[in-house]
């Protein structure tokens, strides 16, 4: 056990986590340079590579012969870099004794780095600070050094200077991992306690769990119990994670590896749960398990109504691999039959959307995302509303509560004014400002989650020329003066366009939404009146005048073919539109709210 080191890498997107990981794999001979394709090894999903972020966790074992001539087993546990997955990050951290903190020499410390760093410090991890990309002309090594020293209270000489691209600093990092990060503790003969820090779905084997054994030993064919679900399974296969799974038949305290329990899908083997021996169980699970809680909800509808069951199958397949995705069927007057899905956050939603479109070839209409509201009715009944269309009538509502988050924004100080203005517009409650160094501030706000799920991040970036970064965590539900805003087209309410907004913003919101819809809905053969209403009260109105002329003058023998082809194309376009009453609505209109910020 003395020769095992379990660690992870904490870094902001693009600060070089994957490149550093690749260099470590290369240097330890875990992978040859030739095997190293153009992209980083740890991001194997196409989507992840494009986004340059690691969405799902993985782990890999390396053998390293250190300068002390001893060979160490290094388990690198990957962590997702996005705020939507902070729970998964915390579970990965719990599987480690140390973390490499990577900061880009030209960018400095960012919000996600700090929040993940605090999670690591809270988990008692030893931090190995690394400044990456020191070869860049824009590197500000001294400044970044001071940021890091202020942040973790380390000495200047403890900071490793590296350029993963230029293969500089790799040995120093490996030596620091071996000598600064403590070996795992734990008793191999105690009752089994193994932390699940990730699970994936394998089409042939069902769920494969990635575990860190904290105490005890797990062997193949033993009965293992999962605390959270109380399920008992056979340990069908146990092994370690190299480039592939390598069967070792047992894992002991301190080890990182995998276990195949013969469970149907990842819902039986939840991240954060503890595995123990069913015959000789531990007295309780490891601390820190939480049910993944979806924060953002949206309707997913097939463009073509015939593809409803295909969409359901695709979602079910995705759910086998993703315990945090939830969905249930719903129907909409405007969109027909579809699903209301819950996601950890906006990025998670985008990932699911893209995977459905790319991997499962589904054509989707996604409604505007919303949070879940807690509605207390006048009869004291409490209902949770994850679809604005199902908001109880005004008269039945005593009050509405919405989720608030704690936001941390790191920004160069010259943008503080812009950012404060943005947060105020988004109903933010200012808490305080601290300075990381004279030029970089750390702003704390409390914000309604609903105000940041649309375009807050883009706005934050554009108002700070790309420099500000954001991190947040759920805080609590708070009462707010919220109303449901309905959109009516020629007097008929379009359920999929209903939104819940703060009363103070409802008039402006209604006006803008009507104007946006006027642009997005094409002229029809009759006039279309667009109205925004709260209850029965119309608060904004716009209209689209009827199409005036739409006929091509000539159609003789030589024109018919061409004309028919044009018609076929137009027909296809029309078919993709949804019909409410007599009005045909293009898909983009259902996301009008999202596009409103462009005005």
């Amino acid at each position: 056990m003395d020769h095992i080191r379990n660690f992870c890498i904490i870094a902001h997107i693009d600060h070089g986590k994957s490149t550093i990981a690749d260099r470590l794999l290369e240097r330890t001979g875990t992978i040859t340079e030739r095997e190293m394709k153009t992209n980083q090894v740890l991001d194997d999903m196409e989507l992840e590579q494009e986004r340059g972020i690691t969405i799902k966790l993985h782990a890999i074992q390396m053998k390293y012969e250190a300068k002390d001539r001893k060979t160490y087993t290094l388990n690198l546990i990957d962590t997702p870099g996005h705020v939507d997955f902070s729970y998964e990050v915390s579970r990965s951290l719990a599987a480690c004794e140390g973390a490499i903190l990577v900061v880009d020499a030209s960018q400095g410390v960012e919000a996600q780095t700090i929040s993940n760093l605090y999670l690591a410090i809270d988990a008692g991890l030893e931090i190995v600070p690394v400044i990456n990309k020191i070869d860049l002309p824009s590197a500000m090594v001294d400044q970044v050094k001071h940021q890091i020293m202020d942040l973790i209270g380390c000495k200047e000489e403890e900071i490793i200077l590296a350029s993963a691209k230029m293969k500089m600093g790799v040995d120093e990092i490996l030596e620091a991992v071996v000598h600064r990060i403590p070996p795992p503790k734990g008793d191999p003969s105690a009752p089994l306690k193994a932390l699940i820090f990730d699970s994936i779905f394998d089409g042939y084997r069902g769920s494969v769990v990635y575990i860190r054994v904290v105490d005890g030993t797990v062997r193949e064919r033993e009965k293992v119990k999962f605390f959270a679900t109380n399920n008992i399974f056979d340990a069908e296969e146990v092994g370690i994670l190299e480039m592939q799974r390598v069967r070792t038949k047992e894992l002991s305290a301190g080890d990182v590896g995998y276990l195949i329990p013969g469970a149907k899908d990842v819902h039986d083997t939840k991240v954060g749960d503890t595995i123990t021996n069913a015959v000789n169980p531990a007295d309780g699970p490891l601390p820190g398990y939480k049910e993944a809680k979806p924060m953002v909800f949206a309707g997913l509808y097939p463009v073509n109504a015939d593809n409803f069951s295909e969409l359901r199958d695709s979602l079910e397949k995705l759910r086998m691999n993703d315990a945090s995705l939830i969905f249930e069927p719903e129907s909409s007057v405007a969109l027909g039959f579809g699903f209301r899905a819950g996601f950890l956050g906006l990025l998670h939603m985008e990932i699911i959307q893209e995977r459905l479109e790319r991997e499962y070839k589904q054509e989707l209409i996604t409604t505007v995302p919303n949070v879940e509201y807690r509605v207390v009715k006048t009869n004291t009944e409490v209902v949770l509303v994850d679809n604005p269309a199902f908001m109880p009538p005004l008269g039945e509502i005593e009050h509405v509560e919405e989720p608030f988050i704690k936001a941390q924004i790191i920004t160069p100080s010259e943008y503080i004014g812009n950012i404060m203005k943005l947060c105020t517009e988004r109903r933010g409650v200012y808490k305080n400002t601290t300075y990381l160094d004279p030029t970089r501030a750390d702003l704390r706000y409390e914000l309604p989650l609903s105000e940041i799920i649309f375009d807050f991040y883009d706005k934050l970036k554009s108002t700070s020329r790309g420099y500000a970064s954001l991190d947040y965590e759920f805080m609590e539900n708070r009462e707010s003066d919220l109303v449901k805003l309905d959109i009516l087209l020629n007097g008929e309410s379009v359920d999929a366009l209903s939104t819940i907004v703060h009363r103070d913003k409802s008039y402006e919101w209604g006006k803008k939404l009507c104007a946006k819809l006027r642009k997005l809905i094409p002229r029809q053969m009759f006039e279309v009146v667009i109205q925004a209403a709260i209850g029965s009260k119309v608060i904004a109105r716009d209209q689209i005048s009827a199409m005036r002329k739409n006929v091509i003058a000539k159609c003789y023998g030589g024109d018919i073919s061409r004309k028919r082809k044009l018609l076929e194309k137009q027909k296809e376009g029309k078919r993709r539109m949804k019909q409410v009453g007599r009005v045909e609505i293009p898909q983009e209109a259902f996301l009008a709210v999202l596009a409103m910020g462009d005005e």
């Binding site: 053969m525 091509i552 030589g558 018919i560 004309k563 028919r564």
Partner: protein
């Protein structure tokens, strides 16, 4: 005989077998400037056609005529050769418009040519006119129609200008040398045309076509009824049952292929059942209406039950009328003809 005419005659021969299957009721000389043909040449073609195919004795035989290319002698010759309908590409009674359209004739030549046609005995004459020319006012368009009416043609084709891709006009528009009229003005002109020609006793029987009773173009109506037709010459289109094909545009390669004993085809298509339905609805709406009973018996599509809400909307908006199983556009409907085809067909399952 020149090479082109020789090829034309040879091409007619290549289709001789079609003569047994169909009784032809119209012949149309169109595309390019067929009125450049001398009467004797035209007569040879007609004679050849009559020898090769079964053609009704009272067939409608039309020549598309450019007013700048004909005189008394030529028109009289056409008449003697058996031509019984002339279609004059007048376009406008304003010389500056004609110049803009790069026509070789003047307004006066057009008037003269029509008088001459009447003098030699033609009693079935069409005038082509173009509305919505850049800078054209509604007033000027009205005066064009007035001028046309004075000449008492049996038929008027009034086309809204189409800016076709790749034409000099399209280039002028994209270079902002000319600006197309606002849709509102185009619509006003169209509305006025429909009303005015109706008042003058013309029946509006297709988007752009108006005829005195009994003078609808039988030839063009056949296009819109999915009837069989054969086309000869470069760029000519043919349609037979469910097959459509078209000849190469280039005269040179046309002649070359025929000399080599090949059909001078540039393309062809076999229409699926769905495509035939699309065309039947599209062409029907443009002209005499969609015969719902026929659509049902011929294509097994019951439009009335499959898209009832759409049809009800259209009826409600006064865009169509339903007259004994025939769905026909109103004047208001003609303005939105293409949008109506789309909305009907996009809701037909499978079509």
């Amino acid at each position: 005989m020149n090479a082109f005419l020789e090829s034309l005659h040879n091409e007619i021969e290549m289709y001789a077998s079609y003569g047994a299957e169909e009784q032809f009721e119209t012949i149309f000389f169109g595309g390019g400037t067929p009125s450049l043909l001398e009467p004797a040449t035209l007569e040879e073609i007609l004679v050849h056609l009559r020898e090769t195919f079964s053609i009704e004795p009272d067939a409608e035989i039309t020549v598309e005529t450019n007013p700048g290319t004909v005189d008394y002698k030529k028109l009289a010759g056409y008449r003697r050769a058996g031509v019984n309908r002339l279609s004059f590409g007048v376009q406008s009674f304003y010389d500056d418009d004609l110049k803009f359209l790069t026509r070789i004739h003047s307004a006066n030549e057009a008037r003269q040519a029509i008088h001459t046609a009447k003098d030699v005995g033609f009693t079935n004459i069409n005038l082509d006119l173009i509305s919505a020319l850049p800078n054209q006012t509604v007033e000027r368009w009205r005066r064009n129609l007035d001028e046309a009416i004075v000449l008492e043609p049996q038929h008027i084709s009034a086309y809204n200008l189409i800016v076709e891709k790749g034409t000099p006009l399209a280039r002028m528009v994209s270079a902002r040398q000319v600006s197309p009229l606002p849709v509102e003005t185009e619509a006003e002109m169209y509305e006025w045309t429909m009303q005015y020609l109706h008042d003058e006793g013309y029946e509006h029987y297709e988007v752009s076509n108006y005829a005195k009773p009994g003078f609808r173009s039988r030839h063009n109506s056949n296009y819109w009824n999915h009837s069989n037709y054969l086309g000869f010459g470069p760029s000519a289109h043919s349609f037979w049952l469910n097959r459509r094909w078209w000849n190469t545009r280039s005269v040179e390669s046309y002649c070359h292929k025929i000399a080599a004993g090949q059909l001078p085809l540039a393309g062809e298509e076999r229409l699926t059942g769905d495509q035939l339905v699309d065309e039947a609805v599209m062409l029907g709406l443009r002209s005499n209406g969609v015969d719902l009973a026929l659509l049902k018996s011929k294509h097994q599509i019951d439009l009335l039950s499959s898209v009832r809400p759409t049809i009800e909307n259209l009826l409600h908006e006064n865009l169509v009328v339903l007259d004994k199983q025939v769905l026909r556009l109103t004047s208001k409907g003609f303005l939105l003809c293409d949008a109506i085809s789309e909305s009907l067909l996009s809701r037909v399952a499978g079509a």
